[in-house]
């Protein structure tokens, strides 16, 4: 069965270093980090990437009070994506719009907040909020978007650890190709820096970044890397079938060429190079491409000592015969935006089809020899005028891997 190609026609995003694709891209090309000091109850002082958007642009004060941070980020991204795509809700069949949002986790922030609140009242459960359940159900971020936009089509979240952003995008593509919806608002979000447990757990694992200069803390591939910077963020795309997008005269930013999701079946926490390699090869096969037809590989590397090495080994094997591929990393600017990572990092690279550059991996003062890959773009952007395709990878705990390939629309 020939499946109709799917177009990305709009992007709404919240990144620690940019609140629109234009601003995000500009900061990726000029080396501006979004990582800053961050203090959180129980855990104390640490570092994080935090998004400074004004939620009241798209939400009332009451909606903000009722909802969650993940919901608020989702509402922001959905409104911004529709505006970017030039899609007006009036005249749209809102029952034919789907919302598919990947999340690493959801509910930690709200549960921790309630437990801390309960402490003030001697653990008397009569003081536990009736808002807790609607805030913590797994579909909360997508559900808040439906309430905000009056969208009555399918709307739900995909839990996929840190591979989740790509899962949202993939689900949107599939639902469009199946004819279930006519427009998908799809991607991933994260509210993780608001939960002390996320930091405490990475800290206990020896995987939380520290650095005297917050902007230097996220440093994939550098010898001195020492862990993850936990960040919040979101990126939702508007996806449409190419024929529909052309019919309405939409601007097409990219076309989704292929994708893959697989599992390592190896470990709760540790990544697996073989599983990652299989995922990349599956995505290439799904797109009908050879490794040499990819121009940019946007890595998942989170700045942990072991994880980056594992991923680099997989890339080296897959792209051994592709001497022109360029490799970069977006987390070096914004930290790890968890459930948003795949979608957001891909978005940061799509403008390369137009501006002809590949953004670098910053903060690499001394490249770890074990992370050395031909084509690594380090510290300054690389001119690459004829980029055709980007491969984005995102991996997560319990061994989930995801890969998405997009191509320039004029191919």
């Amino acid at each position: 069965m020939a499946l109709e190609p799917i177009a990305i026609t709009g992007v709404g995003l919240a990144s620690p270093n940019g609140l629109s694709l234009k601003e995000f891209r500009a900061n990726l090309l000029t080396g501006k980090s979004g990582v800053r000091p961050w203090t959180i109850p129980i855990f104390g002082d640490t570092l994080a990437g935090i998004c400074g958007f004004d939620p009241l642009r798209h939400q009332s004060k009451k909606e903000l009070r009722r909802g969650t941070r993940a919901g608020s980020i989702s509402v922001w991204c959905a409104h911004e994506a529709l505006a970017d795509a030039g899609i007006a809700l009036e005249g749209l069949d809102r029952g034919r719009v789907g919302i598919y949002i990947g999340t690493t986790e959801h509910g930690n922030v709200e549960t921790e907040t309630e437990v801390l609140n309960l402490r003030q009242y001697g653990d008397d459960v009569r003081y536990w909020s009736h808002h807790h359940n609607p805030r913590t159900v797994a579909n909360n971020p997508a559900g808040e978007v439906t309430l905000s936009l009056g969208i009555t089509g399918p709307a739900y979240c995909m839990g996929g650890a840190c591979a989740a952003g790509n899962l949202g995008l993939i689900q949107g593509v599939q639902m469009l190709q199946l004819g279930i919806v006519d427009c998908a608002i799809a991607g991933g979000v994260s509210e993780s820096p608001r939960a002390f447990g996320i930091f405490a757990s990475f800290h206990a694992q020896g995987a939380l970044a520290t650095h005297a200069d917050p902007t230097k803390a996220s440093r994939p591939f550098d010898r001195a890397r020492n862990g993850i910077v936990v960040s919040e963020g979101g990126c939702l795309y508007t996806l449409e079938r190419v024929s529909d997008a052309k019919r309405r005269g939409a601007r097409i930013l990219a076309i989704v060429s292929g994708y893959a999701v697989n599992s390592d079946a190896a470990d709760f926490v540790l990544p697996d190079s073989d599983g990652q390699e299989r995922c990349m090869r599956l995505a290439l096969a799904h797109a009908g491409l050879e490794p040499g037809e990819i121009d940019v590989v946007n890595t998942h590397a989170t700045s942990t000592p072991s994880g980056d090495v594992v991923e680099c080994a997989a890339i080296r094997r897959v792209f051994a015969s592709a001497d022109k591929v360029l490799v970069n990393n977006t987390k070096s600017f914004i930290g790890h935006t968890m459930g948003a990572a795949g979608a957001l990092e891909l978005a940061g690279n799509i403008p390369g089809f137009e501006d002809g550059f590949v953004h670098p991996t910053i903060n690499v003062d001394h490249l770890d020899p074990e992370c050395e890959i031909p084509g690594l773009v380090l510290n300054t952007p690389r001119a690459a005028a004829s980029q055709r395709r980007i491969l984005n990878m995102s991996f997560g705990m319990l061994g989930i891997n995801s890969a998405v390939i997009v191509e320039r629309p004029s191919l």
């Binding site: 009332s60 004060k61 009451k62 009070r65 009569r126 003081y127 909020s129 009736h130």
Partner: protein
């Protein structure tokens, strides 16, 4: 608290729960839900705030007594007689 202070206390709580609403012209005798956007979850918030701020436990069977500002003053007068007004907003 006096009856007038009870009305101030309730309006203050509502202002926190429904921050987009203008409460300046609320009619004390008319159902709150007929004057501003308040749903059942908001109503539970009012009950929760009375519990947190003033230690008043309103049993579910009595929720209907809080439908109007006048009703709130009637119902809460005895419960709040020896309590002091806490205002979080300027309602």
């Amino acid at each position: 608290m006096t009856r007038d202070e009870i009305v101030i206390a309730i309006k203050d709580i509502i202002q926190q729960i429904a921050p987009d609403e203008d409460l300046s012209s609320l009619d004390k005798g008319v159902r709150l839900r007929d004057q501003i956007e308040l749903d059942s979850m908001d109503f539970l918030d009012i009950v929760m705030e009375l519990r947190k701020l003033y230690g008043v436990q309103v049993p579910e069977a009595d929720y209907k007594e809080l439908a109007t500002l006048e009703g709130c003053a009637n119902y809460l007068e005895s419960h709040l007689a020896d309590k002091e007004l806490h205002c979080a907003s300027n309602a």
